[in-house]
């Protein structure tokens, strides 16, 4: 039997459609689209790195060692004579994979916990928030170092370790949004109609929480890339020879005085990407009015 809705209460579908319209509607400005285009380029490189007509990112040609841009190599060669352009493109894959995996882990686990806490309140909420507070009390780098020491330095392990760090932030975002959604009329109406809890959570709460959470995810991805580079700087990121932007910067640091491009090119690439993620994420977030203070 179809649930009859009060005409004045907006249906879930309408609400969702309106949110979508808000996202892709006008008013973003060219800067936003510029950032989006850059992110699409990065995503494209990450996806098709193996099929792009670039050199082998792992092949050291010692004769090209530390050559500058526009010489033997388009963007120059690194300390082992490997092509920086190819490494950038393949490094994009690592950044995207770590970003996506870490953010997804945080998003799924943290998001679920947050929604449950925000919906059911009570002891679970209080307990969860206490645990999150305790996790936050530890400097993230220490947690990360410990996690990496436990589970190793594979791409997957690093992603999981960084993802773990994001659970508290996501739980907070999801909880804050759930709290506000639960009190809205259409959820109350659905409750009044006797809809099951699971049904309300999945059909009413989730669609309304997921957009702000995803918008926050873009900003989080930017931060994940920065965290990865910090790990790489300490030599604890994904194992060589897998190229990562953070790894390339710390490899290049050795040559700063003699061949600045080795560190500078990945730095600029990373800067542009993180900037774009921040920018796009911030735009989207302000559309959903997720306050930074909720994090």
């Amino acid at each position: 039997m179809p649930v009859k809705k009060h005409p004045k209460i907006e249906s879930r579908a309408q609400n969702f459609a309106r949110a979508l319209q808000q996202v892709f509607g006008r008013g973003f400005g060219p800067g936003f689209w510029l950032a989006v285009v850059w992110l699409l380029i990065v995503a494209f490189c990450a996806l098709f790195a193996d099929w792009l007509p670039v050199r082998d990112p792992l092949d050291p040609v010692i004769a090209n060692r530390l050559n500058g841009p526009f010489s033997t190599n388009v963007l120059g060669a690194d300390g082992l004579g490997r092509d920086i352009f190819a490494r950038l493109i393949h490094g994009a894959r690592v950044s995207v994979v770590i970003g996506l995996t870490a953010v997804s882990i945080g998003m799924i686990i943290g998001g679920a916990l947050g929604i449950i806490a925000g919906y059911f309140r009570g002891h679970f909420e209080r307990g969860l928030m206490a645990v999150l507070d305790i996790i936050l009390a530890f400097p993230w780098l220490v947690l990360l170092l410990a996690l990496v020491a436990f589970i190793g330095q594979s791409l997957f392990a690093i992603s999981v370790a960084i993802g773990f760090l994001w659970i508290p932030a996501y739980a907070r975002v999801a909880r804050a949004n759930t709290l506000s959604v639960v009190q809205r009329e259409y959820v109350l109406a659905a409750k009044a109609m006797g809809a099951s809890t699971t049904r309300i959570l999945i059909k009413e709460v989730l669609p309304n929480v997921i957009l702000p959470v995803i918008a926050y995810g873009l900003v989080a991805m930017g931060l994940v890339i920065i965290v990865e580079s910090a790990l790489a700087f300490l030599g604890l990121s994904v194992e060589a020879p897998q190229p990562t932007w953070g790894g390339m910067i710390s490899e290049g640091k050795r040559h700063l005085a003699t061949a600045v491009h080795v560190a500078l090119i990945p730095s600029v690439t990373m800067f542009l990407t993180v900037l774009s993620l921040n920018f796009v994420g911030d735009r989207l977030r302000s559309r959903f009015d997720v306050k930074e203070s909720n994090l």
Partner: protein, 576 residues
Amino acid sequence: MIGRQGILTSGIDQFGAALRTGLTCFAFSLLIVSCSPAGQGGVGDNQPPSDPGTPMHGGHLRVALEGETNNWLPGRGNHVAPAALTVAMALFDPLIRLDHEGRFQPYLAESLVPNQTFDQWTLTLRPGVVFHDGTPLNADAIKWNFDNLHKRQGSVTFGSIRDVERVEVLDDLRVVYFLSKGIVPFPDMLTRAVGWPVSPTAVQRYGDEAGLYPVGTGPFELVTWRRDDALELKRNERYWREGLPYLDGITFRPLPDEDARLASLISNDMDVIQTLRQHIVARLRGMSGIHLYEQIGNSSGSAIFNAQRPPVDDARVRQALAWSLDPEVLIEVLGGRGISPVQTQYFNENNVWYSPRAATAWPQRDQAKARELLQSYMSDPQRSDGKATGEPVFIELMCLPEQSLIDLAQMYQALWGAVGFDVRLRQVEQATQIQSAISGDYMVTCWRSSNEQDPYIIFSNDFGPVEGQPLNYTNFTHPVIQQNLEILQLAPDFETRYAAVEQILLLLAEQVPNTWTGSTPAAVAANPRVRNIKDWTFPDGRMGDGMPVAQVSWAQVWMLDDDALEAERAAREGDE
């Protein structure tokens, strides 16, 4: 009613502003880097004068090192790192030191005399030497040091003196070391931490914290130690060598970041810096306005194989791995072409033990031969890794997460991959690396060997029986090595010993339990007013062994004051 969209629209400005800000910063730093004085620009005018001039007293030296030890107490602290060794030269005096010909000479001791069978050594001390706290250096102090700091379970030096059974006091200034077997190069053991006497009264007084308050007989005594920050030393007014030291004091600072350390010299925050990294040495060579001291040591970066772990338990695999390496390329990755000579054996070309025959025999740069050896292993139905014939050989290379080593490991991987090995890199922290090496839980690992000791000590450590020698990380033993070790242990004359060393080196070149890269260049760069970094002498005027692993004898370093520096400059201009 009041539109907030003004904040949301035309993000181009905001994005643009962010972009401009960021890129301007990058451009600025680019500009700065390109005109920084550290830029590569050929060979700089940085040779220290051959004649250091007249020594003068006074001055306070600031020295930046690559690290620091955890504990200054010999037997407790880890005193094998170059940074710790060089500081120890200011705080302590070794009983025995090497001279410029590689012979053991008494330094703090007056003499060290063996019996016929080389299993009892009588050490005679100089009269009148006192520790910083006034405690006299006598036979009792030596025995106390041996019993309480070194010959004790849990001491860091315990392993290196396993063949020394006890020390007995003969009289006030003489002790006898009793060995379990005759060892000709026993004096070598007294050049390191075991031979640095510490004041027993001080150690007892400070108890648990003795490692924070080192009290030795060295030319400088402790003022304060702020860990990871600065070790302040002042002149030891009661130093046993008349007129020494020249300096009033020294501050040692650990600056682990190589670039930051170099920057501190350029910006004149520091007077002396030390480095063992090829790429920094390359930059120092291109700089002017400093004095650069270099000494190629016997130490070298290397990769060692676990001879008990398939497939590198098979000599063919090790040989294939060795033949596929191009040391020149490895050196270039470490710091640049020609920065240090190719290492082919345990000793460098200037060393007395160097063997040209072993150098020729050392496998390198023959990919065809490497492929052939690899093929022979792969097609062997009895191949040790248990895989089917024709399957690729899997190699796991363990390395520390340090940038130059990561670069090196990647080059190893590429070179080995080129001849058909399937190579995986595993980055581990030092904690895990040492543990894996000790427990034999590795296949191939990056390693740094420091071979400044006597060949007997080196080889009996590195290739002693697997059961009784924890230092044998490669788990490689061979009858030829055992035979020649016996010769090295007991034969006193150089010719016999040299032949034995050469036999071992030739065997190693054939069996390759480890490979080499380039010799590690030890470098010390100093402000031009700092003099005599390298040319230290024994009390009798005999020249010392310089500064192996950048270990400087601070007692004989001096600093020119402004007047002297000005006078010298004027004199030089007058000459021209």
